[in-house]
């Protein structure tokens, strides 16, 4: 192969800079590509039944065709609920983990599950709930609810009115929402709420090969957390999405409200002990691992595909991590210098793992990256790791001790 050509749907400098660094050239529209950094729609249509396009061996693309099993809020919840039922059945035969599978806040799909929700609501009438449109991102269309009457109103309006923001008009009339129990006591640092954005790379779902990027970050709200009702509609207090926070007056372009996971773990270790920090990190890895296992059976594990997910996790005041949602196209726009370097090295690290040692995209490759290529990553799951690799040995040894063996921090 003389030269490698790439194609992108979006001109993100952190992406193209990495392609150019490897000496790749941009493919013209009538030319075939080796590496496609696509948006999710393109990828779906490429793999759709109507499409006549067939990917060759020397082609790779950055999404799985049906990623939405994990990245649509309603489908993710459905898959995890199903997975949990299966695991519960098997439980008798398995050793019990110190963590449980209740890592997604209680969630219902509206309007479909309205009756189930109403039942749950009556069980806890003082709880706050958060409504999110299933298919949107960047925090748009989200609002908090405490009163059943508001849901009724929303339901009666057939969900078609524009009362929930400007996006409602452009969205399809019967847009479905998920409603989740709001985590009312999140861990606050400096009085502010934050969530974790972690990057998880999956190169295959059968067997599952998943890697966690070491350099995740926390995204902070710019306003102090306040549970009182008059702040209920102030999304600057409740939502950490950068797209939301950027609109606030107190948004700081120097740090962009982003704090490294290392700083977070150090903070927790110094205030609550290093055991607490270790346990938290283990549980986070555990949560991500099981969310992937939950969707794996539904996924079309095409060998041309890989995908980097943006995991959103909220830690509550008891240091329990909650999986909020997974994004198929985590933002690659950069807000600060540090952010820029982080995303630049993220793309570089992704390419190191998904490309064979010779650097040429190849769907036939066994997808077993070298230790060198895995620099910057933590191996979350490698179901195929054979006896002989150091990781597998460690894996086996752990398996004897606990059931969460395959998702451990790779030192």
């Amino acid at each position: 192969m003389s030269r490698i050509s790439y194609f992108t749907d979006m001109e993100k400098s952190v992406v193209t800079a990495n392609f150019l660094k490897r000496g790749w050239t941009s493919a013209t529209s009538d030319e075939d590509w080796n590496f496609y950094w696509a948006n999710t729609q393109t990828c779906r249509s490429l793999f759709s039944a109507e499409s006549s396009y067939r990917l060759g061996d020397y082609q790779m693309i950055n999404h799985f065709p049906n990623h939405y099993e994990l990245t649509r809020k309603d489908l993710m919840v459905k898959n995890i609920k199903r997975y949990k039922r299966e695991q519960d059945k098997e439980r008798e035969t398995r050793e019990r983990s110190q963590f449980n599978l209740e890592f997604v806040p209680v969630t219902f799909i509206l309007p479909a599950d309205y009756n189930l929700f109403a039942e749950e609501y009556r069980r806890c009438p003082t709880c706050t709930w958060i409504m999110k449109p299933c298919g949107r991102s960047q925090g748009s269309g989200i609002f908090l609810v405490t009163k059943l009457s508001r849901i009724k109103k929303w339901s009666n309006e057939g969900n078609s009115s524009s009362s929930f923001g400007r996006h409602a008009q452009t969205a399809p009339p019967r847009e479905s929402y998920v409603i989740s129990k709001y985590i009312e006591s999140p861990l606050l640092i400096g009085g502010k709420k934050f969530d974790l954005r972690l990057y998880v790379l999956v190169t295959s779902f059968r067997p599952i090969r998943a890697y966690l990027f070491r350099r995740g970050f926390c995204r902070f709200c710019s306003a102090k957390y306040d549970r009182s009702t008059h702040q209920m509609d102030n999304m600057l207090v409740h939502l950490t999405n950068v797209a939301i926070q950027k609109q606030g007056d107190d948004y700081n372009p120097h740090h962009g409200g982003k704090w490294s996971v290392d700083d977070l773990l150090f903070y927790i270790a110094s205030l609550r002990g290093s055991d607490a920090a270790d346990l938290l990190w283990q549980e986070i890895c555990w949560v991500i691992g099981h969310s992937l296992k939950a969707v794996a059976p539904m996924m079309l594990s095409d060998p041309h595909c890989f995908e980097c997910y943006g995991y959103d996790i909220i830690i509550d005041a008891n240091l329990k991590p909650w999986l909020i949602e997974v994004n198929a196209s985590p933002s690659l726009s950069t807000t600060t210098n540090t952010d820029h370097f982080l995303k630049l090295s993220l793309i570089d690290a992704i390419l190191n793992v998904v490309l064979p040692p010779d650097g040429v995209p190849n769907a036939k490759w066994n997808k077993r990256p070298s230790a060198e290529a895995l620099r910057g990553w933590i191996v979350l799951i490698d179901e195929e790791a054979k006896v002989g690799s150091a990781y597998a040995r460690q894996n086996k040894a752990n398996k004897a001790k606990s059931s969460r063996s395959d998702i451990s921090r790779n030192k």
């Binding site: 400096g190 290392d262 110094s270």
Partner: protein, 491 residues
């Protein structure tokens, strides 16, 4: 007006009602319990009542110089009393102790017939004894510190000059911004502030117009300008103030605001620094109190009242007061003394007291010119010597290319590496500083970092490029580096 309740006891009736109402006589009586080694019991007998009373009165108006007769090795009882009272004054408990002592003198039932013994007993029971004991211990410690006050004239002059510059900058800033620095907040302002106490970062203030009063760069200039045979570097160019490095600390913004604000208003800091560095040697401007304290900033009168000359009184008098009350005028980057502590404590109070203790003990030396072995000047000298000794080739390379290592290392040392190392590593370093009780680790680490990056630096031919090599210290591992440096030193 004879005091009839007093029996004629061991004091042979010499205690006049007047001396009783002068609380300090009770202190005399209580003294020997706490410093028996130094004061002969016999001196207790009030043979020169009048002299003492006079002294005490003098002391009461705070005009006596406590060091007037320190030449003799023996500490006289008068000096003990003076020192003790001064200390109590500093601790802010003088009034309380006096009042309590008076009360005891009047209320103590005289059972044994030995007035002195009764009094001693009563003092012990009421905790006054402990108060005085502590005051004496503190006072002695303070006196030892005074002994290490600046002896070098040129150093003292340089520090005074530097202080004047900073003060002048502050005064100019005040004039330019038409601010009145020394006034109380109006009640509405105070209310607003306390309502926003937990989120001071949103407190509506135009901070943009406030200039940085001085930076580590200014301090560097001041240090290398010292006429010291070890220094003959020519300086030129401009350090770029390093980019905002607060990505590790911004989440604690509000805490840092709270702590810094309290610190600047804490006159305890001022007293501590005064006694540490000598009362006139504090980095401070003195402003006349505005006669209309509660009025708004309408007139510029409060600021232009002029500075009282510190030489005259040597102690804060009623007419002048330090601004800021802590007497510590922050330099650009001062908040970096606060920020790392936010990783150690959750509560502002804990952060505050730790900061204050560390500042008074260590950091205050890092931005004043003195010949103290732990002062920034000594640390700078040590840094250059270590570098010369460990990396002679590198040193010559720097000289030949006008690279000034100290200019690079100065901000590290002045901020005790805060804002340069990642928080975890920084706290390792501060731990070591506390453990060894020595700031010599700062130049040692700085020199080791130069050793570590020697290969890169060798390829560099200008000072500006050298700066970039050292702009990112986030990968530095403190403990191994220091261990390496120390084994190298000894071996």
């Amino acid at each position: 007006m004879e005091q009839t309740t007093w029996r004629d006891g061991g004091l042979q009736g010499k205690l006049s009602p007047h001396s009783l109402s002068t609380p300090n006589s009770t202190l005399f009586a209580a003294l020997p319990f706490h410093c028996q080694a130094e004061i002969r019991l016999t001196s207790l007998i009030p043979h020169n009542q009048t002299a003492k009373t006079k002294k005490v009165e003098k002391k009461g108006t705070r005009k006596m110089s406590p060091t007037s007769s320190a030449a003799s090795g023996e500490v006289s009882i008068q000096e003990q009393v003076a020192a003790c009272m001064e200390e109590l004054q500093i601790l802010g408990t003088l009034e309380k102790v006096i009042a309590a002592s008076e009360h005891i003198c009047i209320a103590t039932p005289l059972g044994t017939g030995d007035f002195l013994a009764d009094l001693r007993h009563a003092f012990r029971l009421n905790g006054i004894e402990t108060c005085i004991k502590n005051a004496l211990v503190l006072s002695r410690r303070r006196k030892n510190m005074k002994d290490e006050q600046e002896q070098l004239t040129y150093m003292r002059k340089a520090q005074t000059h530097f202080e004047r510059r900073v003060s002048k900058a502050l005064l100019n800033l005040q004039t330019d911004l038409k601010l009145s620095l020394l006034r109380q907040r109006s009640s509405s302002e105070a209310q607003e502030l306390s309502s926003k106490w937990d989120e001071l970062s949103t407190y509506d203030q135009d901070v943009g117009s406030i200039r940085n009063l001085y930076s580590t760069q200014d301090l560097y200039e001041a240090v290398v300008a010292l006429r010291d045979p070890d220094y003959s570097i020519n300086r030129s160019g401009d350090i770029q103030l390093t980019a905002s490095r607060d990505e590790h600390y911004f989440v604690f913004e509000d805490l840092i605001y709270q702590v810094s604000l309290c610190f600047s208003r804490d006159s305890y800091v001022c007293l501590q620094l005064c006694s540490k560095f000598g009362s006139r040697a504090q980095t401070t401007s003195r402003f006349a109190h505005a006669p209309d304290i509660s009025s708004s900033a309408s007139g510029g009168s409060s600021g232009t009242g002029g500075r009282a000359d510190g030489d005259a009184s040597g102690q804060s008098s009623v007419t002048t007061s330090a601004f800021p009350p802590s007497s510590c005028i922050p330099f650009y980057g001062w908040a970096m003394y606060v920020a790392p502590l936010c990783y150690v404590y959750e509560e502002a109070e804990d952060i505050y007291y730790t900061l204050r203790a560390m500042y008074v003990k260590y950091w205050s030396r890092l931005h004043r010119l003195s010949s103290h072995g732990q002062g920034i000047v000594a640390l700078s000298v040590l840094f250059e010597r270590l570098l010369q000794q460990q990396e002679p080739e590198l040193w010559i390379h720097c000289l030949n290319n006008n690279i000034e290592p100290l200019r690079i290392a100065m901000p590290w040392m002045v901020q005790a590496f805060s804002g340069f190392l990642i928080p975890e590593q920084l706290l390792f370093l501060w731990d070591l500083i506390l453990g060894f009780d020595s700031m010599l680790l700062l130049p040692l680490l700085a020199a080791s970092i130069f050793s570590l990056r020697r290969e890169n630096l060798h390829r560099i031919l200008s000072h500006d490029s050298a700066e970039t090599i050292f702009s990112d210290l986030s990968t530095i591992q403190v403990v191994p580096l220091l261990q390496m440096a120390l084994t190298q030193q000894s071996g």
